[in-house]
Symmetry: C2
Subunit: 134 residues, 2 copies
Amino acid sequence: MAERRHTEIESAALAVVHDFVAAWNSNDMSRVLALMDEDVFYHNIPVAPLVGRRAVSDYLGSKGGFDWINWQLLNIAVDGHKVLTERVDDFSIGGVAVSLPIMGTFEVHDGKIKAWRDYFDMDGYRRQLAQPKQ
Amino acid sequence: MAERRHTEIESAALAVVHDFVAAWNSNDMSRVLALMDEDVFYHNIPVAPLVGRRAVSDYLGSKGGFDWINWQLLNIAVDGHKVLTERVDDFSIGGVAVSLPIMGTFEVHDGKIKAWRDYFDMDGYRRQLAQPKQ
């Protein structure tokens, strides 16, 4: 069996997404934002997309911060500049813990995330948020 | 830049998923089922998982058939036996056309899909189904 070999572009794209997951898991929003392109397109599919790092920063700021974050990266695969992920995003916000099954695509160019699209069930998320605080 | 090379396992897994998408787009449910392992695990994430080709067959039968199907494969990437896809699944069921942004992971072994997990926003899907027939 031939050994699989990534192109340089693919290895770089994978590295950026791994860094991005690590930044989230460190709850380091400065690092999260720094890994995004200034003109990033961020689409949390059930809601309207955000364009630009400032819009993402404002959005994250409006959430009031996470108590803790633990994204579990179940699967990751790359094709050129595109990195596809399957994850369980565990986090706590406002004292409520959530476990969100999710998939996301990241388009990486020049070491930055230019596009990020996440797919998940919004209603399942909202039902968890409505649980009593722990 | 080094050319990217898939392993034999990866090339075979990609081929099965491409065949699977083609089977859907031909509205050929026999072919869809034939590409699944007898013990397939199928999880449409917002709803309970199905186990086994017969359960999937019963489920598909219960939907009463699709008028037409057109899955658009936006992105596909492979890592070993795992194939990750980003799609827009356009289809019509009971005279109602739906366009569903979705991501899915397929685990392929021995030419068959052993696991399939799709992630999408159920509420967005239901709102489309509630539209008047065309």
